[in-house]
Amino acid sequence: MVDKDVVDQSNLNRQILHSQADIGKKKVASAEEKLTALNPDIHVNIIDTTIDESNAARLVGGADGIVDAMDNYPTRYLLNDIALEKKIPLFHGAIRGFYGQATTIIPGKTACLRCVFPCAPPKEVFPVIGATPGVIGTIQANEVIRYLLGNGDLLANRLLIWDGMCSRTEEIAVARNPRCPACGNETSGKDTRKEGA
């Protein structure tokens, strides 16, 4: 788990590993404490740092996959690049208010994050209804489990959209873009796409 933040009261509606008593603590420390209390048989490797271009590949290391728990696209795109480089899946999820989305990126087989979202939405302080990341996070966790088991159909080339205002899920079919700056075989060189307003 990689996170630079400390627990804030505004996190508590959705970041269920933390409680009121953890406000001000390092998130990775609080998370490790709760996870190992749930299951003492696991080992949680915590890293208190910001993910950036200088360390992302090293932080991912030999992991079997990357679970996207980010709140911004620049870092998501960086993780996408690392996933492509290491040929490991990226389990993408994102939310805003009552809405969420999820898809599973398998390098070489599916659209990558850049294929699906070539341009990031404008930066903003996004609203969060706690239940929404609960839904999307559970979907991502379900994807990870099934990927590891090799069972079922992943959200591969499928962008799942959750509408919490009417409790409906819909899907948009996505596909690899042969001219994708990240994974396309019709381009070369560094990606120069804008990161959004």
């Binding site: 805003r96 809405y99 990031a120 996004f126 948009i172 079919a173």
Partner: protein, 92 residues
Amino acid sequence: MTAKIRFFARFRELLGTDIVIDVNGKKSLPDLVKGIAARNREGYDAIFDEKGAFREFVILMQNGRRIDTSDAGTTPVADGDEIAVFPPVAGG
């Protein structure tokens, strides 16, 4: 001749969804979506920039097929089209 416009997420909040619109007189995708978005200033501004083009981050689908926003201006519309307009969300 009609088409159906489906909005998602924030766009749905502002403009609704599953809106059937008359295609007659509308030559391209932007024309079609503007026909709905023009009803709500905030909704219009969320989707279109100052020049009236789709904002780059907007995801467009026409009958299940992805349309690049840079191609939208020259993409014709036809009777029975289903257009999806979707903003990616960023929070976590």
